[in-house]
């Protein structure tokens, strides 16, 4: 992938979830991290399924009745005899399931969930989704977006046409260049094709 494309991708992904990547990064300002004692590197967590790779859906507020909408996408490895499901090209194979809440039924049409590759070319339809329901599909991309749109057609073969109501990004979309950050803060991003 070219640096330019990577840059475009990062921007698209960041825009899609409405956050700045920089804001998502924990700030390590000065050159020392003396506050980090050996033990503070450990964060205990209860042994419950992790939300780590969960996808937080954010409303775009573009459609009436969606202003308070929330949603979560969860990924599970697709069933595999190896435990971890991986495609022949090494991509994780995930069963993505999406649930949304606090969303009013649209006056016309139906909310429809999609997963989209970063190039915005490959689209997988999860299906029509309503409050309290779950829509799911299998995805095999390194990074992807999840969107809920308002569509006039509920046909399974329908394409994505309508406005984006909610959006989210796979955790992998947060992967970010080290250029200009952390120990490389003096390494110019531009040199590597980043702005």
């Amino acid at each position: 992938m070219s640096f330019l494309r990577a840059m475009v991708l990062a921007t698209v992904l960041a825009a899609a979830v409405g956050i700045s990547l920089a804001a998502a990064v924990p700030s390590t300002t000065s050159g020392t991290i003396s506050s980090l004692s050996p033990c503070s590197a450990i964060i205990s967590a209860p042994p419950l399924p992790s939300q780590y790779y969960g996808i937080e859906m954010v409303t775009t507020r573009r459609v009436p009745g969606t202003g308070r909408a929330v949603g979560t996408g969860m990924v599970n490895f697709a069933r595999s005899p190896f435990g971890v499901a991986v495609s022949p090209s090494g991509r994780y194979v995930y069963d993505l399931s999406l649930s949304i809440d606090r969303i009013k039924a649209p006056r016309r049409g139906a909310y429809t969930a999609w997963a989209v590759a970063p190039d915005l070319q490959d689209v997988v339809r999860l299906g029509v989704i309503e409050e309290g329901q779950v829509a799911s599909a299998r995805v095999t991309w390194n990074k992807f977006l999840v969107v809920v749109t308002l569509e006039s057609s509920t046909e399974p073969t329908a394409r994505w046409h309508g406005p984006v109501v909610m959006r989210g990004m796979s955790r992998s979309g947060m992967m970010h260049t080290l250029a200009g950050h952390g120990p490389y803060e003096n390494e110019a991003c531009l040199k590597y094709g980043f702005k």
Binding site: T32, N76, V84
Partner: protein, 607 residues
């Protein structure tokens, strides 16, 4: 003895070989050997204390450059020219600012101090040793000459072979192994996956004392379960195993139709070796380097070579017994466009055979697959992964060759296509597992959290880790995405932890007690919210277990395992069949993580 103490002990032997060669009356001096942390060739921690240490290190180095010493009955020569070199990188990235000339805090180790390999016996390809019940095999770990990627250097081998001899025996039989240690440091042999007598499990200071240089130990191997198993040292695996100490055991079934019919059987060991144009990158002497992610190799090996080849007739069905002996690399093995059926794993067949498109295999796991080659021509065997370029923050596709199968134009005279196309259900496995299904739904008996603790890592590394920890850690590390940071972290700075979630006890503090016949559900949570989460292949000695679920999703096709992947962020429920008495280990099978403490023991007592 704690893991730290054990590391120290091995360290002392290594140290004796690499640094103290010329000290007079060495045997009397051993008691005064400095702590491993002092054996720093060049320190990257430039505070006052370390600067002081460095001075004394330099003196040691000077003394170490002369002469020779005797350790036990083995003469050790060293030319003292072993120096650290920055490992090569798949995706180049600038050196960490401030660490441009840094090297690991441990010293560099090469076999025999990287002396001229000529004069040492050239290793031979592994032989098949068919053993009858009660038969004895002499097995010696020794120094051998290997040529890999055009470089000739010293490695280790069992019986002078790569891999070690393939020990073939019938299920239900017992064979005797007279093992002798002729390498430069203490070792043991662990018979991975065998549910054998605890006394012969090969864990130093748990089931036996380390086998010192020149000494022997007799193992009795009981082949209780059909399948493919492997043997390797249980001391400094990062170094000894990586240097060639590994081999398989193939336990044959009495039933003729235990597996489906095939034209041919192949035993394949996957491995990787970290090399540059000068040869292998040195290993850590007193403790492993690469403690964060384990030592990924850049040269992929099948049965110890880079040119694995197989010739078959068109239409042949080949059963591959695959073992991953790499320190840390998980492979995604693809057989070109050939059709692949997965049949069995570590300790049993699957309940049902399945078609797969690739084989995902973590360190120490085994899979048995059957492949039909029905198109004439060359079939490239590959490792096909989405690697990560950590500096650029990108995935990239990495395809590396593992070997080649040449499919002749001549069609096989024994066409097994019909059988191959049938997916068999293994009622023997299903019936066996039926006895355990009542326990599947119960609450876990024990819960483990996988995490780590770091100390004294250089500030630039800590800053990079902190920057990334809040962003994205992949479920599995398929490549060494941060080669310099990883290399510079030794097990003196990184402690990998199994924590008992109920008691807070960690690693060897944990004391689980069971009785023979107990069926134990263990929930393993790989905490993603740490400074550097990573996947861990969790290995249970001497018993077998089922992976019941991953992240709450039940496993619909069970198989008895001894090692299984616990991905980052996942909760994996396993059900262990504790029916083999003794004191056993549970640990991560990434060699560096094991040395960094990620192990615990449990006892199974007779009723």
């Amino acid at each position: 003895m704690s893991i730290r103490q054990r590391s120290l002990w091995v360290g002392l032997f290594l140290l004796a070989g690499s640094c103290f060669d010329s000290l007079p009356g060495l045997s009397a001096q051993r008691g005064h050997t400095p702590e491993p942390s002092q054996v720093v060739k060049t320190s990257m921690l430039l505070d006052e204390q370390d600067a002081g240490q460095m001075e004394s290190m330099e003196q040691m180095d000077e003394q170490g450059q002369m002469g020779m010493m005797h350790m036990g009955s083995v003469e050790v020569l060293g030319d003292g020219n072993v120096a650290w070199r920055m490992p090569p990188m798949d995706a180049p990235m600038p050196p960490l600012p401030g660490l441009e000339n840094a090297v690991p805090t441990v010293g560099p180790f090469m076999v025999k101090g990287d002396m001229d390999p000529t004069g040492f016996p050239e290793a031979r390809p592994g032989e098949i040793v068919e053993m009858d019940d009660g038969e004895t095999l002499d097995l010696t770990a020794s120094i051998v000459q290997r040529t890999i990627n055009g470089k000739t250097f010293l490695m280790y081998g069992y019986n002078g072979q790569y891999p070690g001899p393939l020990i073939k025996g019938d299920r239900g039989s017992t064979v005797i192994i007279n093992f002798t240690n002729e390498i430069e440091m203490p070792t043991t042999v662990h018979w991975h996956g065998l549910r054998l007598d605890n006394r012969f499990d090969g864990v130093p200071d748990v089931t036996q004392p380390p086998v010192l240089v020149g000494q022997s130990f007799t193992y009795e191997l009981y082949f209780r379960d059909t399948g493919i198993y492997w043997y390797h040292p249980h001391m400094r695996e990062d170094l000894q195993q990586d240097l060639g100490l590994y081999g398989n055991m193939l336990v044959m079934p009495p039933e003729n139709d235990y597996y489906g019919a095939v034209n041919r059987e192949e035993v394949i060991i996957l491995d990787d070796l970290l090399m540059d144009e000068q040869g292998p990158i040195p290993w850590g002497d007193t403790a492993p380097s690469h403690a964060l992610m384990g030592r990924f190799g850049n040269v992929l090996l099948v049965n110890g070579t880079t040119d694995y080849q197989l010739e078959v007739d068109r239409g042949e069905v080949v059963r591959f017994y695959i073992t991953n002996v790499a320190n840390t690399r998980t492979f995604n093995m693809v057989f070109g466009g050939a059709r692949v059926k997965v049949v069995a794993s570590d300790v049993s067949k699957f309940e049902r055979e399945e078609w797969v498109e690739s084989v995902v295999i973590a360190p120490a796991e085994r899979y048995v697959v059957e492949v039909q080659f029905d198109e004439p021509g060359e079939v490239e065997l590959t490792n096909s992964i989405q690697a990560i370029d950590d500096f650029m923050g990108e995935f990239y596709y990495q395809l590396k060759s593992l070997g080649r199968v040449t499919v002749r134009d001549t069609t096989t005279t024994n066409d097994l296509s019909v059988e191959f196309k049938t997916l068999r259900q293994h009622d023997d496995v299903i019936n066996d597992i039926d006895g355990y299904r009542d326990a599947f739904g119960r609450e876990p008996d024990h819960q483990l959290e996988l995490t780590l603790r770091v100390q004294n890592l250089p500030t630039p590394i800590m800053r990079a880790l902190e920057f990334e920890a809040g962003l994205f850690s992949p479920p599995l590390e398929w490549n060494d995405a941060m080669p310099m940071m990883n290399w510079l972290s030794s097990t003196e700075q990184v402690q990998w932890i199994l924590r008992d979630a109920d008691t807070g006890q960690e690693n060897m503090e944990i004391e689980w007690r069971f009785t023979v016949g107990d069926v134990v559900k263990i929930r393993i949570f790989n905490n993603p919210e740490t400074i550097h989460p990573m996947n861990h292949p969790v290995h249970l000695h001497g018993q077998r277990y089922l992976v019941l679920s991953i992240d709450g999703v039940p496993n619909q096709n069970l198989v008895w395992k001894d090692t299984a992947i616990v991905p980052v962020g996942s909760v994996v429920d396993i059900l262990a069949d504790m029916d083999n008495p003794g004191t056993w280990m549970l640990h991560c099978h990434i060699a560096e993580h094991l040395d960094a403490g990620m192990m615990m023991s449990f006892s199974v007592n007779e009723q």
